[in-house]
């Protein structure tokens, strides 16, 4: 946490209080053409472009949110989805406090490959908070309800196993873009969220309660600086709470594979 303030004040005015500056690095991973770059550009610049541009390597954008006493900087790292960029995964995963896994709601195969992405990212950075995001909800909405129900159900189970909040969004129609990053921040600092969950199949899902909390939920003192920063520190630093509250599913990514392989075939 850094501190930052306006530089000049009028003569003999009271000096301003010091602002807290919070820097959060977020990695975006997922298959090619699921809309990682679109999501990032939409969130930072509020622009949506229908044209597809392939990301070569890694994209990087920053967004600053100014509150009264606090300044939050979201640094977004977007990794190219093509398999040749897999060796750049550390760029997006290592050092990120939150990793967003994206899949295309209209292409079940992209959801399936989340397993691979999750396993690899987890191996690089064990402490980052995962968030599962389904994109292109505007297209998904027009598809038949049978398919919608099926995908929603599977996605919910994935998020259960990953212990990750699940959010369906649309960059084209501007649905739940802000929420993704707010939930990321809230999970990171263990803030109390009062937003209503949306968990009816067919609606853009927004499920976050009981997900991604296990790392901190034992420490009740959420004002303690150290607790908050533990999440942000590198993966070599393990928190004590992890050992006490470990679920077997979360510990082994292999479990993810074994439990879902038969469902899709």
């Amino acid at each position: 946490m850094q501190q930052n303030t306006p530089t000049s004040i009028n003569r003999h005015d009271p000096i301003p209080g010091v602002k807290n500056q919070i820097d959060i690095q977020i990695g975006l991973v997922g298959d090619a053409q699921v809309g990682k770059t679109s999501l990032m550009v939409k969130y930072v610049q509020n622009i949506f472009d229908n044209e597809y541009t392939q990301t070569l390597g890694v994209n990087f954008l920053k967004r600053k949110v100014k509150l009264r006493q606090t300044e939050i900087i979201f640094s977004l790292m977007d990794l190219g989805g093509q398999s040749e960029f897999i060796n750049m995964l550390p760029l997006a995963a290592v050092g990120s406090s939150v990793i967003i896994f994206l899949f295309d709601l209209t292409r079940p195969v992209t959801l399936k490959s989340i397993k691979g992405w999750f396993r690899q990212a987890k191996g690089l950075n064990d402490l980052a908070i995962p968030i599962l995001v389904g994109t292109k909800f505007d297209l998904f909405y027009t598809m038949d309800s049978q398919y919608q129900n099926e995908i929603s159900k599977v996605a919910m189970e994935y998020s259960q196993v990953m212990d990750a909040p699940l959010i369906f969004c649309s960059t084209a129609k501007s649905i739940h873009i802000q929420k993704i990053f707010k939930i990321a921040l809230a999970k990171l600092f263990n803030l109390t969220l009062t937003i209503n969950e949306i968990n009816l199949p067919g609606d853009p899902l927004l499920i976050y309660k009981d997900k991604g909390n296990n790392c901190i939920n034992q420490s009740t003192n959420n004002n303690n600086n150290n607790t908050n920063l533990r999440r942000k520190s590198s993966h070599g630093h393990t928190s004590n709470n992890n050992n006490n509250n470990n679920t077997p599913i979360q510990a082994s990514p292999i479990a993810v594979r074994s439990s879902y392989n038969h469902r899709h075939h």
Binding site: I15, I175, A186
Partner: protein, 562 residues
């Protein structure tokens, strides 16, 4: 820097030679100009030796009969020669671009043709010939070696082939006994020596050093790291043994330059005479008596260090003052009973820095007499001069408009310096560095001072000002009365209890990445650390609350059933 290296090589070479010749003779321990001036016989003997050596060296190059005769001269005749040499100023040609003419004037006596030496990278055949004709500068053997960069061209086209030397490495002396002609050009030599003096001076400049901590615990409070604290604490213990004053290295670079040859001696001497250190007044008297007629020294920096109480300056009147009227720096350190006559100051029009520390003689009357002449005074250091009171300080404040830094710190008679001094300085000057350690200033005085001059203040030393309370410094900082403050010393302010604003100010400066050093005693450091932790915890809590509110706000892109 190649050039500097080469240059260093050259005089080291010469110095070693001289040293070798010295080794056969009884050694003299002290070689500083300070002693030189006082022990004339000794110095002349030494110079005789040196001269002898130079002559020996020259002999190899020139067969001039006069030079050979000199070798047989008695030391007394030499002293005459020395005096005449000192009288004649080094011949510096008027403009730097005439170096070619200058070179030719050196070799002019023996060069028959109308040619001049131009520094260049080219080579031509006839050059070697010309150098042959000029045994004074370079013997033929070395000419071939160095002809890569020395060229003779006709005077008619002086600028045609003139290329500055690019590769300074080539200036090295190949032949041990001959130095490169470039070192025979007085103006170039003058520049070299001037550069040397400037670089030595810049090494001497004091940088602001953080004061050593009082105890290990204090160090721990400051650095918040055990290793670092231990290191600093052990360093602080060792430092106490060091002597605080710098003495000129008696075998220093400049002194070595004196001994290279006659020209070097002539060029170097005025530089050496600009900056003098005396440890007793008799030596100063003797120095003036010796040098006033011969060298005409223009002293710029004068330092008296630990002069004994029994000594005094013999007032030789206008002669002495004539030597001193270019004075810029005057320092009298730890000389309790020694001071320059007040009436001398009327001719010290360039005086910028005065530092008279630990002096019992200097008083208000002295300052009142002196201050009207100190129009250019920039820095005044009167640490531990306990006889000075408000009266003297007001006199200074009224007369010295350019005053930039003043130090009145003391351990005794603190009650003699009050708000009157502080306010006078604030009103009439634009001081940036203010030292009032151990004085009787109060909150009222601080407020008044800050109102007048707070914008300029950069360094503020208020150690031991027991009357200052929570109502001045913390609030003045909190309301940004000292926007450019970078050093604040607040050790042992017993009545300072609330440091909240000081910490806020510190954090604010830090967030702007502006340097700010707050020197405080153990008690205040502890208070400040506690306050800083408290403030940070408070800020964190505030941030978390703000973020919670923000996260729960509704957004424009929230889903409403389509």
């Amino acid at each position: 820097m190649n050039f500097k290296q080469t240059f260093t090589n050259i005089y080291n070479n010469n110095y070693n030679k001289i040293k070798r010749s010295f080794d056969n003779e009884p050694k003299s321990n002290d070689c500083s100009i300070v002693n030189t001036s006082n022990d004339e016989n000794e110095s002349l003997k030494r110079r005789h030796r040196q001269q002898e050596h130079i002559t020996l060296r020259r002999q190899r190059r020139s067969s001039s009969p006069t030079r050979r005769n000199r070798q047989n001269n008695s030391p007394f005749q030499f002293s005459n020669e020395l005096k005449s040499m000192l009288n004649s100023k080094p011949t510096l040609p008027p403009s730097p671009c005439s170096s070619s003419e200058c070179l030719s004037s050196i070799c002019g006596a023996t060069t028959p043709s109308k040619k001049s030496i131009v520094l260049s990278i080219d080579t031509t055949a006839d050059i070697v010939e010309n150098i042959d004709n000029n045994p004074f500068i370079t013997p033929p053997s070395s000419a071939i070696k160095i002809n890569n960069h020395v060229v003779l061209t006709p005077v008619e086209t002086p600028f045609q082939n003139r290329i500055l030397i690019k590769n300074f490495q080539s200036l090295n002396i190949r032949n041990k006994h001959v130095c490169h002609p470039i070192f025979e050009v007085p103006e170039i030599l003058n520049n070299i020596i001037g550069f040397l003096v400037a670089s030595e001076d810049s090494n001497l400049e004091k940088r602001y050093k953080q004061r050593p901590p009082e105890s290990y615990k204090h160090a721990l409070l400051i650095y918040k790291d055990e290793l670092k604290a231990k290191e600093v604490w052990s360093q602080a213990n060792n430092q106490k043994k060091e002597t605080p004053f710098y003495n000129y290295n008696k075998n220093g670079t400049l002194f070595n330059c004196l001994m290279v040859n006659k020209l070097w001696f002539q060029v170097t001497l005025p530089y050496l005479l600009k900056n003098l250190i005396f440890q007793d007044a008799f030596k100063f008297n003797k120095f003036i008596a010796t040098f006033i007629d011969t060298a005409n020294p223009k002293i710029e920096k004068l330092l008296f260090n630990r002069v004994q109480p029994t000594e005094a300056i013999i007032n030789t009147g206008s002669k002495t003052i004539h030597c001193l009227n270019a004075l810029v720096d005057l320092k009298i350190h730890i000389c309790p009973k020694f001071i320059l006559p007040a009436n001398w100051f009327s001719s010290f029009t360039n005086l910028q820095n005065i530092s008279i520390t630990g002096n019992k003689v200097i008083n208000d009357n002295y300052l009142i007499k002196v201050s009207p002449f100190l129009k250019n005074l920039v820095s005044l250091d009167l640490r531990a001069c306990e006889n000075i009171t408000d009266v003297g300080v007001v006199a200074i404040a009224l007369n010295c408009k350019k005053l930039n830094s003043i130090n009145l710190g003391r351990h005794q008679n603190g009650e003699k310096i009050t708000d009157i001094s502080l306010v006078a300085l604030g009103k009439f000057t634009q001081v940036e560095t203010v030292g009032f350690a151990g004085s009787a200033i109060t909150d009222n005085g601080m407020w008044e001072f800050a109102k007048w001059n707070g914008d300029n203040v950069k360094r503020l030393s208020l150690n031991n000002c027991k009357q200052l309370t929570d109502f001045s410094i913390p609030y003045l900082l909190g309301f940004n009365y000292f926007p450019s403050l970078s050093v604040l010393e607040i050790r042992y302010l017993d009545n300072l209890k609330d440091v909240k604003f000081i910490v806020k100010f510190k954090l604010w400066k830090r967030s702007q990445k502006l340097p700010l050093l707050i020197e405080s005693c153990e008690r205040i450091t502890e208070l400040m650390n506690k306050e800083e932790r408290h403030l940070q915890r408070y800020n964190t809590r505030l941030s978390l609350m703000e973020m919670t509110t923000w996260v729960n706000e509704t957004d424009s892109d929230d889903y409403t059933r389509l």
